[in-house]
């Protein structure tokens, strides 16, 4: 009777399972100070310090007076906290004959930034939408050329652009720089928007066409409301990129219209007089403040937007 024998065997083992209640149960315990954790968090800590130390030095130095800085202890916190360097950097520091500090550069930068960001994103999003959904003849070639533009070093185009802006009467003006930023933002932004719009279901576009919406109707009523994340990504890329730009600023503007970065350079690199490290640090921090704030506000949206653009479906 092999059958009954094997039946009894299974019954016996089932009993063992049923009665043994002492063994492991629930989630497996994880020791807090395992070797893995020590290495992991240790490494993270070291890397974080490595990255944050320069920032710390900058902040600390910008809050010290010059006599304290001359002592040479760059890591020590300020004995006497003073905001004078910040005030000086913002409103009094001299570049050449001009002694208005960074404030003028800041407003120049804002005047360049806002129209550049709005214009470049408006044009690029329509570009991307047309390339993704309205497959016109030669669209692929157009797109290839546009992407190719992203790989050409900017330096190659500096001089031709100077001539073109001169002919347009825009050389040295803020609007000239706005135009340059809009043009140079085009390849990467178009790519970004095209890929995002391609990832939206094509049937939505078809349904809207059957429903009688035209090119602009579909763009404004269907596509725009669905693409907040990618717009946030584009805004971040453009705001930080344009704000941090130095090359175009120094080439295409005059001292009156210098953006903040160029002015910062002029303050920090002035050859005459004493090197005021505290003012330099404060000025640098002031200039870096705008991109920093943008990252802090939009960090989460930024990650979501990048992920939305990367994952199809």
């Amino acid at each position: 009777m092999a059958d009954t024998a094997s039946l009894n065997m299974t019954a016996a083992s089932a009993d063992a399972v049923a009665t043994d209640l002492s063994g492991p149960r629930g989630p497996r315990p994880r020791p807090r100070f395992s070797r893995r954790n020590i290495f992991l968090y240790g490494a993270l800590f070291v890397v974080a310090v490595y990255y944050l130390l320069p920032l710390y030095v900058m902040i600390v130095t910008s809050l010290k007076g010059m006599p304290e800085i001359r002592l040479g202890n760059i890591f020590s916190p300020p004995v006497e906290i003073t905001f004078q360097p910040w005030v000086k950097a913002w409103a009094e520091a001299c570049t050449g004959l001009n002694c208005e500090g960074l404030s003028r550069g800041f407003w120049n930068s804002v005047q360049i930034l806002v129209p550049s960001v709005v214009l470049s994103i408006a044009v690029a999003s329509v570009n991307g939408y047309a390339l993704a959904n309205w497959r016109f003849k030669g669209a692929d070639i157009f797109f290839t050329i546009l992407i190719f533009g992203a790989f050409i070093p900017y330096q190659v185009m500096l001089y031709p652009l100077v001539i073109m802006l001169r002919e347009l009467g825009l050389y040295g003006t803020l609007w000239g720089l706005v135009l340059v930023h809009t043009v140079f933002g085009m390849p990467i932004l178009t790519l970004l928007f095209r890929n995002y719009f391609t990832s939206l279901p094509e049937e939505l576009f078809k349904a809207a066409r059957v429903d009688g919406a035209g090119f602009w109707g579909i763009y404004f009523k269907i596509m725009l409301p669905m693409s907040l994340p990618i717009f946030v990504v584009a805004i971040i890329i453009q705001v930080t990129g344009i704000w941090n730009d130095f090359l175009f600023g120094v080439v295409y503007t005059k001292p009156d219209t210098y953006p903040m970065t160029v002015q910062l350079n002029n303050i920090v690199n002035s050859v005459q007089g004493v090197k005021e490290y505290n003012v330099n640090m404060a000025a640098t921090l002031l200039t870096g403040l705008v991109p920093l704030i943008v990252y802090f506000i939009s960090g989460k949206l930024f990650v979501r937007g990048i992920a939305a653009g990367a994952v199809k479906g």
Partner: protein, 361 residues
């Protein structure tokens, strides 16, 4: 009067011919199903009719008007998509009225039509909701509603039920049929599901590689498939195919190995030549066993190899003429594996194909 006419329509994507000189006429109020495996061009054809794709050659008429160059919105069609394609940022009401607002209809008229469509589809309680707050079945109803409010004569369905689970699919299938009875407008319906095709269609167009293989009523396609592809594609489980030769005589015999089947009663298209290599097709559900088999013109005793019980009925595998052969039988009287049974069928209900050309003999 023809409602939709497709005349000599070809479509190439670069060097790939997706549609090859297709011709279809859909009568007014007819339910036509385009059926075929994926990649056969059925959805492409539907997109051409809708005007979402430009044809390479040929003409398309809707309601006796040449619409080959017209925009989708001007063709008098409504379309339902597989993925529903509801506008996610609009409420159900917004989805239904979007097309009407684009037509600049007066608000009262829009409200009237939305109300009527939502009554027909029983989606009135959902009007204020967003598509993301709806279930799959509700979404597809809204998608149908969006076609409904347009008040058009031709409905185009692009695999509308493929994203739904089996139970919902059956429910909505019946509902689409009911809708067709009620509205009596022309419907062109793309699917790869033969059950949907058989149950819904007035006529089915079976497509393969951009060519319509057979365009006929469902029953005709089922019982008299025009070639081996259609025969194998329609019917589940698939038709049995036995390979062999035709032997001449007053009534030709089909011979496979040591099995000879008298084809008495089978309507040949033309009298076949003796020695022709042929394929003999029998549907599993046309095979009888046991007592029932005795009355059949052809009988043979076989040994059962595998039995697959499926609840409502049972599928049994055996060999006939040395080739695999399946038949379907009532689960109550299902044979056991290894058992010898008498099976029988009527060759008049079978299909014979030329082995070289796959065309029905």
């Amino acid at each position: 009067m023809a409602s939709v006419v497709v005349r000599d329509v070809s479509l190439n994507f670069g060097a790939v011919e997706v549609l090859k000189s297709l011709n279809i006429e859909v009568e007014k109020g007819e339910f036509l199903v385009l059926l075929g495996p994926s990649g056969c061009g059925k959805s492409t054809l539907l997109n051409c009719i809708a005007g979402l794709l430009d044809v390479t050659d040929g003409q398309i008429f809707i309601n006796d008007k040449n619409v080959t160059w017209e925009q989708p919105k001007d063709r008098g069609i409504g379309m339902v998509f597989q993925s529903y394609a509801l506008y996610p940022q609009m409420s159900v009401e917004g989805n239904l009225s979007f097309g009407l607002k684009n037509q600049r209809l007066p608000a009262a008229e829009i409200a009237e039509r939305v109300k009527r469509a939502s009554e027909i589809l029983q989606i009135e309680p959902l009007l204020k909701r967003r598509p993301s707050a709806l279930s799959g079945g509700q979404r597809q109803r809204v998608a149908i509603g969006r076609a409904l409010v347009r008040d058009v004569d031709v409905f185009l369905f692009d695999e509308p039920l493929s994203n739904l689970d089996a139970k919902l699919r059956n429910e909505l299938r019946v509902e689409i049929k009911r809708l067709h009875q009620r509205l009596a407008n022309t419907m062109v319906y793309v699917t790869h599901d033969q059950i949907e095709a058989m149950t819904l269609a007035d006529r089915i167009a079976v497509m393969r590689n951009g060519i319509i293989q057979q365009l006929d009523a469902p029953q005709a396609i089922y019982s008299r498939p025009i070639n081996r592809f259609v025969a194998g594609f329609i019917g589940s489980p698939g038709m049995n195919f036995l390979e062999g030769t035709i032997e001449g005589g007053a009534s030709p015999k089909f011979k496979a190995g040591d099995t000879a089947i008298d084809t008495k009663g089978y309507e040949f298209a033309e009298k076949p030549q003796a020695g022709t290599k042929a394929v003999f097709g029998v549907r599993p559900e046309h095979v009888m066993i046991g007592e029932m088999a005795r009355s059949m013109p052809y009988t043979s005793e076989v040994e059962i190899e595998i039995v697959e019980p499926m609840g409502s009925d049972t599928l049994a595998w055996t060999k006939l003429g040395g080739q695999n052969f399946t038949f379907r039988t009532d689960s109550e009287y299902a044979p056991k594996e290894g058992e010898k049974v008498l099976l029988g069928f009527d060759p008049a209900r079978a299909s014979l194909f030329d082995a070289a050309t796959d065309i029905r003999l």
